[in-house]
Every structure is written in structure tokens, then in C-alpha cells.
């Protein structure tokens, strides 16, 4: 195949990627958009075998087979609740792949390469490694294999600054002195920096970091496109880098977070003072019957689903309760916080899985003004998204995040497993409010009891 035809097909794949991102931005076209992206990636992968001299064909096909055998079942079998960390992991391995590509290309071509080639190679290695190790840390946080609270240690910011300086210093060393050893040293420092960069990020900010690392990986792919002289990689990588940056900003806005604060939290984070003083205060806990009676005499009920609901697999039971209330003439709506779950839009995916009618899902801006006329708000497995501390206590990690103002409702019912704070690790004052009733236990079991109690009334 001639270079011209090859590049033309590469351009077609690039156009497909643009159409994919465009499609993914609208609910009706989203699925087709994703398929167009897959088509573009498929075409690009196939034509590369018909261009130039391909050695090691057996190794290449074998490696693709291995990657497919690992990736497809992981993507097929993952619980929808665990999907954010899988996306983080996929992003990380992409960054790792780009870094490896740059290292190998440097081995092959780097001996007498021009400076621009070296700079882009180093850039790919640095950002690819940061994206790889940073994504692994976000994965560990989301999977709760490590603490979800910000990890801050004394002198942490100096360690991070020193690591960053080491990354930059050794990068210059590669460009000036050449050699594989300096490049591997850069890779090592970059991996360390990725870890240190993500450790101080609190649980609530993790989605923003995943999105940012996604944009990083995009830019790495663009830089490797320059190194490999591939227009397609430059286009695809830049598209993801640019759209990922915008997406990161939009996510930060939806969560009321300052992007700057999240990014440079690593440099400014201070150890938090624990709020253990308030933990032993009394709370009002109720029985399923108490909850059923409250619901039976309500005219309007808003259900606030959180990640705990999904973990307990209680979506179907919640729907049963909602249907029962509707049959009793009660006005029922679901109040959906933009970041309910682990990522923006995650809760919509989870509730859609349970076939909950779309028109009952009300977004935060629309549902908030109605809490004044709401008799009962049922908060199921959510905490941070209804925590008034986001509005009242400057300095707390979620301060400034818009919340569902359930405290304006006549009564608030919390379904919780325990008094443990939410993902962001912050105490919720609302739990101690006199109009709040707590129903402890597994969300699904509690809801089942409430449903049968309500049926009996």
C-alpha cells in the first residue's frame, strides 16, 4: 500500500474519531458514536499491517490476542458499580503503552535523532508514566484497597516538588547526554511523581483526576505520533487531550470544585483536623414501620439514591417502593446529584440498569426548589451529596460542592449501614438533626421491610 493511501485511510479514521466524540455528546447518538470510534480504531489497526515491512508478525498477533483475552472479559463482567475504576485502569495501561512505545522507538532510532524527536520522546515517557502510576493509585482508591481520604504526610509537598524537579532535571539530561539509562531514570521518577501527585487527592475529587489523566494520556499519544511520524496518532491523541481537558473542567464545575485546587492540592494539602468530637452525639433511629407510616401520610416524597444503593443492589427494591407509593397517590421523584455514585452520570447508568422510568429522575437544579414542598426525603446510601457542610463550613474538603438540599424537606430519612462517613470522609451534621430519622442496615433488606410494612397499612 502506498504512503498516500495509507495516510488517507488514517485521515478517515481521524474523522471517525471526531464523529465518535460528537456522537458521544448526545444521548440519542451516544451508542452509535462509540461504535464509530471502535470502527475508526479497527480500521487504523488493520491497515497498519498492509503498510511497510512488518516483522515479528507472530509476536504482534499473539500480543493482540492476549490483550483481547484480558480486556474483553474484564469489560464484559465488571459490575456497573465498579466501572469507574475499570476506566481508570484502562486509561493507565494506555499511558503505560505510550511510554513503552517511546522507549522502544528511542532504542531503535534515538542514537542520532534531532532534538525535537528527543523532546517529544521524553514528554511521552514522562506523561505516560505519570498517567500509568497515577491511574493505578486512583484504581486502588476507588476499589477501596487503600484509604479514600487524602494521604498527606509531613514534608509531603517538598517530596513532591523534589520529585518533579528530578523529573525535569533528568529529562534535560536525556536530551543533552542521550542514552537509554537516563531515559529509564526519567521513567522511574515519573512513576514516583504520578503516585505522589494522586495520593493527596480526596475521594470526592478522584473522578476529576481520572478525567485529567485521561487527557494526559491523549497528549502522550499525540506526542508519540510525532515521534513515529503518524498523523493519525497526532489527531487522535490531540482530540482526546483537548476534549478530555474540557470534560475535566466541566466535571469540576458540576462538582463545584476548583480545578486548580484539585491539581495543586498536592502542593498545598495540609493534614486535616479530625472531627471526632461530634461522633458520640445521639441520633434518632427508627424502625421500618415508623418509616412506612411517615411515607403513608406523605403527599410528596423525593428519593435520593447514592452509591450505597448500588452496592446493596437495591435498585429494584427501590423501584418497588416507588411504584407502591405512586399507587397510593403519593407524588414520587428521584433527586439525582450530578456526581451521585462515583462519577458524573454514574447514578443515571445504575438506575437505568434497573429500568427506573426516565421521567422520574430529576436533576439537582430542578429538584432543589421543590424540597420545601416535599414531606419526606429518603436518602439511600448517599452522604456527601446531601451534606450541608458543603454550604456551611469553609475548609471542609467538599466545601462549595452543590448539594441536594434535603434539609428543606419536612422529614429526612437516612438508610445507612452504619454511622461511617461517606466517600469523602466527612461527618454529616444532618444525621443529628431532630427531623432526621435513621434506619440502619443493608439498604436492600431495609427497603424490603419498608415495602411490606407499607403494604400492610
Amino acid at each position: 500500500m502506498s504512503d498516500f493511501v495509507y495516510d488517507l485511510i488514517g485521515l478517515a479514521a481521524g474523522v471517525l474519531f471526531i464523529l465518535a466524540l460528537k456522537g458521544l455528546s448526545h444521548p440519542r447518538t451516544a451508542r452509535r458514536g462509540n461504535l464509530l470510534g471502535a470502527l475508526g480504531a479497527g480500521i487504523a489497526t488493520v491497515v497498519v499491517f498492509f503498510h511497510g515491512d512488518i516483522k515479528n508478525l507472530g509476536w504482534i498477533l499473539g500480543a493482540i490476542a492476549v490483550g483481547t483475552i484480558i480486556g474483553v472479559p474484564a469489560a464484559r463482567k465488571v459490575q456497573m458499580t465498579q466501572m469507574p475504576q475499570l476506566v481508570a485502569l484502562f486509561n493507565g495501561v494506555g499511558g503505560g503503552a505510550a511510554a513503552l512505545v517511546a522507549i522502544v522507538e528511542y532504542q531503535i532510532e534515538g542514537k542520532d535523532a534531532p532534538t525535537a524527536f528527543l523532546i517529544f520522546t521524553v514528554f511521552t515517557v514522562v506523561v505516560g508514566c505519570v498517567s500509568f502510576s497515577g491511574s493505578i493509585v486512583t484504581f486502588l482508591k476507588l476499589q477501596e484497597l487503600m484509604t479514600t481520604r487524602p494521604v498527606v504526610f509531613p514534608g509531603g509537598r517538598f517530596v513532591i516538588a523534589a520529585t518533579l524537579a528530578a523529573v525535569l532535571g533528568t529529562s534535560v539530561w536525556v536530551v543533552v547526554a542521550l542514552g537509554t539509562t537516563p531515559l529509564l531514570v526519567v521513567a522511574g521518577f515519573s512513576l514516583a511523581f504520578g503516585i505522589l501527585f494522586v495520593l493527596p487527592v480526596g475521594g470526592a475529587d478522584v473522578p476529576i483526576v481520572i478525567s485529567l489523566l485521561n487527557a494526559f494520556t491523549g497528549l502522550t499519544v499525540a506526542a508519540s505520533g510525532y515521534v513515529l511520524n503518524s498523523t493519525l496518532l497526532i489527531i487522535a491523541g490531540t482530540l482526546v487531550g483537548a476534549s478530555g481537558t474540557i470534560l475535566t473542567r466541566m466535571m469540576a464545575d458540576a462538582m463545584g470544585r476548583s480545578l486548580f485546587g484539585t491539581l495543586f492540592g498536592a502542593f498545598t494539602a495540609k493534614p486535616q483536623d479530625s472531627s471526632s468530637a461530634v461522633e458520640n452525639r445521639p441520633v434518632r433511629s427508627g424502625s421500618p414501620d415508623d418509616v412506612a407510616i411517615l411515607l403513608n401520610y406523605a403527599r410528596r416524597v423525593v428519593i435520593v439514591p447514592g452509591f450505597g444503593l448500588a452496592v446493596a443492589q437495591a435498585q429494584h427494591t427501590v423501584r418497588e417502593l416507588a411504584d407502591l407509593m405512586i399507587s397510593k397517590g403519593i407524588d414520587v421523584a428521584y433527586g439525582i446529584h450530578p456526581v451521585a455514585g462515583r462519577m458524573p452520570g454514574h447514578m443515571n447508568v445504575l438506575l437505568a440498569e434497573a429500568n427506573i422510568p426516565y421521567d422520574q429522575l430529576v436533576e439537582m437544579e430542578e429538584v432543589n426548589p421543590t424540597f420545601g414542598q416535599t414531606d419526606v426525603a429518603i436518602v439511600i446510601g448517599a452522604n456527601d451529596v446531601v451534606n450541608p457542610a458543603a454550604q456551611t463550613s469553609p475548609g471542609c474538603p467538599i466545601y462549595g460542592m452543590p448539594i441536594l438540599e434535603v434539609s428543606h424537606a419536612g422529614n429526612v430519612i437516612f438508610l445507612k449501614r452504619s454511622m461511617r462517613p461517606g466517600f469523602a470522609g466527612i461527618e454529616n451534621e444532618l444525621l443529628y438533626d431532630p427531623k432526621t430519622m435513621l434506619l440502619f442496615g443493608d439498604a436492600k433488606a431495609s427497603l424490603t421491610k419498608v415495602v411490606s410494612a407499607l403494604k400492610a397499612l
Binding site: L24, M83, V104, A254, G345
Partner: protein, 98 residues
């Protein structure tokens, strides 16, 4: 064909604007699938991994590039499959509406 510097800069600049433009009106409902889809698109680094592997001569080069192909394939194929699964559920929602 070597790309000239101005060609690279032009492609880069225009792609940035297109990237900004295409996602500028997305609703928060679609943030997660969009991130996941974009994530799958950068799996196209697989093409780069295949190119370097096809030029690899030493054992080191070969083993690193084989690792790169495996990682890139996971990124690309896994990414598109998981995005499709998420979006499948949005489709289910419309059927309920009817």
C-alpha cells in the same frame, strides 16, 4: 514521508479546536460514557505499538513492544466494550418510556 514542523503544528492546533468544540455541550449525564469513550480512542496507540514492534530487533525491544501491544489492546478493546455496556443501559431507558 517526514512531516514538516508546520504540518505537525497545524494538525495539532486544529485538532485542539475540534476537540474543544465537539464536547462543549455535553450534559452531565453523559460525562462518564464520554470519558470512557475518549479513553478507548487513545487506545489507538496500539497502532504505534505495532509499528515499533515490527521494527524491533533485540530481545529487549521485542519484549517491551509486545508488552506495549498487550496494554494498548486492553485499553482500546476493553474501553470500547465497557462504553458500549454503559450506553446500552441508556437505550433500555427509552424502551421503558414508551
Amino acid at each position: 514521508m517526514e512531516l514538516t514542523a508546520i504540518a505537525v503544528i497545524s494538525i495539532f492546533t486544529l485538532s485542539i479546536f475540534v476537540g474543544f468544540e465537539v464536547v462543549s455541550k455535553v450534559s452531565s449525564t453523559l460525562h462518564t460514557p464520554l470519558m470512557s469513550g475518549a479513553n478507548a480512542i487513545h487506545g489507538v496507540i496500539l497502532v504505534g505499538a505495532i509499528i515499533v514492534c515490527s521494527h524491533a530487533t533485540t530481545t529487549l525491544e521485542l519484549s517491551l513492544s509486545v508488552a506495549a501491544i498487550i496494554l494498548a489492546t486492553i485499553n482500546m478493546i476493553g474501553g470500547f466494550v465497557v462504553t458500549d455496556r454503559m450506553l446500552e443501559m441508556f437505550k433500555g431507558k427509552k424502551e421503558v418510556e414508551k
